[in-house]
């Protein structure tokens, strides 16, 4: 189990690096799928099979497919032009680098505080996840659903056909 955890972790890191550095949009998207798979395996080894399954269904199975759909529809899947190459200059790495460093500090602080889960511990049943979501975390669920509803209405508004002035 521990070996699987470290292999999956390494795959996730490498795949994510490849996502950032690929010039072809579709190839980058596929490495993102690999990265999400690896994260799902990490969740599984940490004793969260339900979250692992949802990770694959929701992220790999729906969200990235939507990205893929958009990329195919706009026909921007091939090699990126000189514009994107300019954006990959070393100087443009500073901003994301600083943000990532801040995250890294936070991560190290959490690990140092000793609040880490064990690999191969007790698996959390789907039922327990449900009970937790609709018990102590009910407010979070409600907030997320409100946000999603707002996004839905917004998408409906932006997506509707513009009416002609004479009311057609």
């Amino acid at each position: 189990m521990t070996v699987a955890f470290y292999i999956a972790g390494a795959v996730a890191v490498i795949a994510t690096l490849l996502v950032v550095t690929r010039r072809s949009t579709i190839h980058a998207l596929l490495y993102l799928v690999v990265s999400l798979f690896a994260v799902a395996v990490v969740f599984y080894t940490l004793g969260a099979p339900f979250v692992a399954a949802l990770e694959v269904i929701v992220y790999a199975g729906a969200i990235i497919v939507l990205f893929l759909f958009t990329v195919m529809l706009l026909n921007i899947g091939g090699e990126a032009g000189p514009d994107a190459r300019r954006r990959l200059r070393p100087a443009s790495w500073i901003g994301p680098g600083v943000l990532a460093a801040v995250l890294l500090v936070g991560l190290v602080a959490i690990i140092a505080s000793g609040a880490n889960a064990r690999v191969g511990g007790r698996a959390v049943e789907p039922r327990e996840v449900g009970v937790a979501l609709y018990g102590p975390y009910a407010i979070g669920v409600e907030l997320a659903s409100t946000l999603l509803l707002a996004a839905l209405i917004g998408a409906r508004h932006l997506g509707q056909r513009r009416r002609e002035p004479d009311g057609r």
């Binding site: 596929l30 399954a53 694959v56 729906a62 759909f69 195919m72």
Partner: protein
């Protein structure tokens, strides 16, 4: 008891344990092999079965020359496909072009891992079995979409686009239809879902859910009437226009594997799986699966293909509300009974 005797006993116990572990591993491997060979043979046999059955429905004979009743036709077809030129178009993305047919086979075969043939004859009895199936079936869309995109021809791309939208949409209805069964059985575990149907098959209390799942199944395996991703009257062959030889053959096998998988799941989830009087469990399981496969072929021989916007309208305007009402009513009844 002397210490030496204890030691010897402990060693013997350890030896027995190790042997038992090896036996389990061996047994698991046997199950994997039987399922793999069985499923692939069914998929290959279906190429013959579908053509013969279609011919029967259409008052023709069908392939009956190779072997007894044409039974060796799949073998002849396979040999033919292997000897065809394995061609990658110069304008295609070669890596993805090769990867795409592999994805469909792998994702469908992996989904068979959680299907219980009998109560104990299952590769992995996961407590998230149903979710695992949904995860694997949602990966199938990559195969079709990537095949369309990497072929870089307009028919393929349109086929791939249609596939991405269609399969992603119907995945939603499929998941929502299954939640009704999860509510009734109280588990994602396919074995427990089958065990929960000892008195009554779930198709009776979950009839709307079953109908939605059936329609979503048609869309997920891209068969007539929902085969708009390869509608030959408008898109040549859709996403697989540029494919030839065994790569094209793998899409074909993938389609038959998908048909077997959806039939197996319909049987497991709504028609009591291996449960049945008299005959052994796996026989009942196979009989039920073949009834549904024959039904899918009958539908292919019968129904015309709708327009693409009609397909999407059916999904989002009829099936989605139907699923949600089914879910709400099922939940309400369960709550009322528990009170």
């Amino acid at each position: 008891m002397s210490e030496a005797a204890c030691h010897a006993l402990g060693l013997a116990g350890f030896g027995a344990l190790a042997t038992a572990a090896w036996a389990t591993v061996l047994y698991d491997l046997v199950i994997v092999l039987v399922v793999l060979v069985g499923v692939l043979s069914i998929a290959a046999g279906l190429t013959w079965f579908e053509r013969r059955l279609l011919s029967f429905f259409q008052d023709r004979l069908g392939p009956n020359r190779v072997g007894p009743a044409g039974l060796l036709q799949p073998l002849a077809d396979m040999v033919k496909m292997f000897f065809k030129e394995d061609w990658i178009p110069p304008f295609a993305d070669p890596a993805l072009f090769v990867l795409a047919p592999a994805i469909i086979i792998v994702s469908v075969l992996l989904a068979f891992v959680v299907v219980p043939v009998t109560g104990s004859f299952v590769i992995a009895d996961l407590n998230i079995g149903l979710l695992f199936f949904l995860a694997m079936s949602s990966l199938g869309v990559y195969s079709v979409a990537l095949a369309g995109w990497s072929s870089a021809s307009k028919y393929s791309v349109i086929g791939g686009l249609r596939a991405a939208a269609q399969m992603m949409s119907y995945e939603v209805f499929m998941g929502l239809a299954l939640t009704g069964v999860v509510l009734l059985s109280g588990s994602f575990d396919l074995n427990r879902i089958v065990a929960g149907q000892r008195g009554l098959w779930y198709v009776v209390p979950q009839l709307p859910g079953f109908l939605v799942f059936l329609l979503a199944g048609f869309a997920e395996m891209r068969r007539i009437p929902f085969d708009l991703v390869e509608a030959e009257s408008e898109l040549v062959a859709g996403y697989r226009t540029e494919y030839s030889g065994m790569k094209s053959g793998m899409f074909l096998v993938g389609e038959y594997l998908g048909m077997t998988l959806i039939s197996a799941l319909i049987v497991t989830i709504y028609f009591g799986g291996w449960l049945g009087p008299g005959l052994p469990g796996f026989v009942w399981f196979l009989i039920k699966i073949f009834i549904f496969i024959a039904f899918f072929i009958l539908v292919r021989a019968t129904l015309p293909r709708p327009r693409y916007d009609q397909l999407m309208d059916l999904g989002w305007k009829i099936l989605l509300p139907l699923c949600l009402v089914n879910l709400a009513v099922t939940g309400a009844i369960i709550l009322a009974v528990q009170r």
